[in-house]
Amino acid sequence: MTTKLFGEPVQRREDLRLITGEGRYLDDLGKDALAAAFVRSPHAHARIRGIDVSGALEVDGLVAVYTWEDLPEGVRDPLPLLIPHPALTHGRTAYPLARDVVRHVGEPVVMVVARDRYLAEDAAALIEVDYEFLKPVVGIEEAVQGVHLVHEDVPGNVGAHLVQEVPSPGGAGAREAVDAAPHVLAFRLDIERSASTPLEGRGVYARWDADDRSLRVYSSTQTSTSVRMAVAAKLGLPLPSVEVIAPDVGGGFGVKIVHPWPEEVLVPWAAMLLGREVKWAEDRREHFISSAHERAQVQHVRVGFDDEGRVLGLDVTILHDHGAYTPYGIIVPIITATQLLGPYRIGAYRVEFSSIYTNTVQVTPYRGAGRPQGVFCMERTMDRIAAHLGLDRTAVRAANFIQPGEFPYDQGLIFQDGRPLIYDSGDYPKSLSMLKELIGWDAFPQAKERAAAEGRRLGIGLACYVEGTGVGPYEGGHVQVTSDGRVHVSTGLTSQGQGHETVFAQIAATELGVPLDRVSVVTGDTRRFGYAVGTFASRAAVMSGNAIALAARKVRDKALRIAAEALEADPRDLEIEDGVVRVAGDPEASISLATVAVLSNPLRYAFDEEAKRATQFAGPASMDRPPVEAGEEPGLEGRDYYSPVRSTFASGMHAAIVETDPDTAEIRILRYAVVHDCGRLINPMIVEGQIHGGVAQGVGGALYERMVYDGHGQLLNASFMDFLMPYATEIPFVETAHLETPSPLNPLGVKGAGEAGVIPVSAVIAAAVEDAEGITVDRMPISPSELYELRRATAP
């Protein structure tokens, strides 16, 4: 059947437009808008003594210059702390323009508006800010000493401190369980900073309509609905007077879920004040120094285990570098702390984290959002246990797996959504056996030996993860069939290239029984759908996918009711196929969805031939009943929402074979294998694409990318020349296998897939390099230079 598209590898419908230059990204809009540019702090920590803008006033084409002093009530307030948490006792956010102290290089200090971006940058370069230097606090080690403070009123630089503890079944605390275990290991792990680095930076374009006092804002955001509410609140505008649209967005990966950014408040405000269109498109250097980073953590691990490698107690203390501000709360370290346990049943677990301020770019979620760090911790721990006991690394994992019969499995922790961390479904032993088969785990030792005989060093590694996806609170979907038979789907969350136009259309087409080419999808446009949360946490397919399915089912029910009346049939005998409603077994008795849509909307006026059929003199009607029955609405459309009781838990396992050069210490990934379980697959081709992209970002994090700050808080590699995002040439072919354990929590049985690929890669590569070299790898990323130094340091 042509319309049963759920589960089919349908080609992405958005690609032709996007890869032939027909995309409409933020900077493609507003060609005539005024341009904004920002004077940003060149210092990591300084007090502003004065700002002299007089030089800028000479620039022909300058329109306005704003400092914090110029901002009105509301606009001038600190930006919101989006996700408060009781443990975040010292949450701090920035002002949209620095008020008196700058706390990282790149913090905006002055906003300049000019005729174009060239002139705006000319003017910005002529503004002189008088700074009094303060001691910058850089790096977790320095920050935890608390000698110098990032925020004067935050002692010890500790923004948050949280402990979660799950005692053993016998009631022992984790530390007690570790101490009592037959084997105990203690070690430290380090992960460095990286960042989302979408190819399109952030950007905002605002149009103020002075006649009806309404504001339209385009933002390269992962949440247009929430930007809308924030902008309306900051500017004191009625919500219905503000519309926010996410146009084509060239990647988000987490950084664009943060909002409102300073520019998202300031650009609309300036557009209103000036009565002119204003646009700001972030440039690459700005993105590096003024958006957000992630990943950096120091982890202290103590683990106790038995002779089979079963973990009896795990005690982890995490120092999380949060940068200068905490606008997104402590979501990242919470996820690390809770998702660390992965697919394992751990005897007793204690995790403690401190979220530490430093004079660096703020830390907010980046694809994986704390999970890569948690998986690094757990999987490095598993490898150490295996090494200590002389056991196969897969055997130690298998000894600790939660078994398929144990779901739902309660880990006893509170997850990032404030709800219990209960795994809904999965089959970890099967995943592992599929992975071993795919990579050839059992035969590898012979291959390694053969290579060694030729002077080559090969190593194999693996890592497992469980990922909470599809967090609430809700998303909605709207499905409308118009009288031309076309189906219009909208949902409030946004797209950044995931393929939503395709998968949401597949869902609607399948539910309604219409061909795919009749379905169009709009996302992230508050004119079409006002209620939404946003795209993050691998939630779009789970949340909007289910909401759209439910909305489509409403439309289907209504279509069947109307068609049943028209065909004088029982709705239960009807089916919809190829956009036509038929009586099952009677091909003559049918009516198209287009006609049903016409009939659903009683008309007085005939604007075309189809419409005539719904006008008041067109046919017999009961004169005793109103044209629109009580409880009904005109039109063939439906709206519904999906709100899950809690997250659904996807899982996966990766393995890699690497080769390290004995002379140059170069690290090459020879094979990369992925077994992935995200419940039912809506579109396997798109899921694979998501995995490939995720693995690519993971390889970046494992071998190439890091944010290098010097002791003064200067970011030394704020360009794509020195921040080494891998090219296609650095990414191995990714071999994939899918396992489908449907989620019992949602109607479609799906789980999220967006972030998965990135999560275990650092752990996998560390394990493989360790295996190749016989050297302990306890920090990532690792470069050839670092491997060389590691060899020297461990040489006898």
Partner: protein, 290 residues
């Protein structure tokens, strides 16, 4: 990342270009392929008052390969030189090394002479010019031309002997002589990146197939590519009996790398040795075959 204002000049011949450069010196900057200059302008790390775009000067778009060597005009793109069979026959090191220069898209636009004048010690072509003992031809309005030997041309990181008002009109790469082999080896963090370390090597044999001369020039391990002669370390032996590891060690001890965010000085020194050995062995092998 928008450049500050500049006056744009688009001369149609070398004479006009030289006139403009003379009139605007020292505030004029030559734009050829723009693969380094445009980013520098956009980041406002360079802000010349005048940009002299030589892309409409066809007489500079030349590659002349002859018995003596290959003369590459200021507008010859990396890709054109890389693809030139006559250039590769005259001096095979050109093609070998150019394949390490960035990516095809950059090579389609970037020029060999532009890369030389930019004088980045991490770039491949300066090392090639140095190891071959080539030269750069500089012209100035009313002042004729001068040829500057490679050893004198590179004066420091991003600094060359080209003076304000001068235009580098061509570079000359001497031809491969009989019983001589060349090689280029490098390690870059990502495919096409500037090398963490790299070595260009030239080895010549005498009639008895003993090493007559062996030279290298190293990339990314000092302020400028310097020629290193290791003939003595080869001890006049046949290639097969040369103690290449000790020759390579001599190379690694004579370079002066620094630490940066991509590599420690120690790793760069070690890597230079590894690459020197690889390049010298290949060059010696080619010399024996040639």
């Amino acid at each position: 990342m928008k450049p500050s204002a500049f006056d744009y000049h688009a001369p149609r011949d070398v004479g006009e270009a030289l006139e403009i450069l003379a009139a605007t010196a020292p505030h004029g900057k030559v734009l050829a392929g723009g693969q380094s200059l445009i980013p520098l302008l956009n980041m406002r790390l360079a802000a010349p008052a005048h940009l002299v775009d030589i892309n409409r000067v066809p007489e500079l778009d030349t590659i002349e390969a002859g018995g003596a060597g290959v003369r590459v005009g200021a507008l010859a793109r990396h890709a054109a030189v890389e693809r030139s069979d006559s250039a590769a026959r005259a001096q095979p090191l050109l093609r070998t090394a150019l394949r390490h220069v960035a990516h095809p898209v950059i090579r389609n636009r970037g020029t060999v002479v532009g890369s030389l004048v930019h004088a980045d010690p991490s770039a491949e072509m300066p090392a090639v010019l140095v190891v071959l003992g080539g030269s750069v031809r500089l012209a100035r309005h009313g002042g004729g031309e001068r040829d500057v030997p490679a050893a004198d041309f590179f004066t420091g990181p991003m600094e060359s002997a080209a003076e304000p008002g001068e235009l580098a009109v061509s570079a000359f790469f001497p031809a491969l002589t009989p019983r001589t082999g060349t090689a280029f080896a490098e390690v870059a963090r990502r495919h096409g990146d500037y090398a963490v370390a790299g070595v260009a090597a030239v080895v010549s044999l005498d009639d008895d197939l003993r090493i007559r001369s062996a030279r290298v020039a190293c990339v990314s391990v000092g302020p400028r590519p310097a020629p290193l002669d290791v003939t003595e370390e080869c001890g006049g032996r046949p290639a097969a009996t040369v103690d290449w590891p000790s020759v390579a060690r001599a190379v690694s001890l004579r370079v002066d790398p620094g630490d940066d965010i991509h590599a420690t000085a120690g790793y760069r020194r070690h890597l230079t040795g590894v690459l020197a050995e690889r390049a010298l062995r290949v060059a010696a092998g080619e010399a024996a075959d040639g």
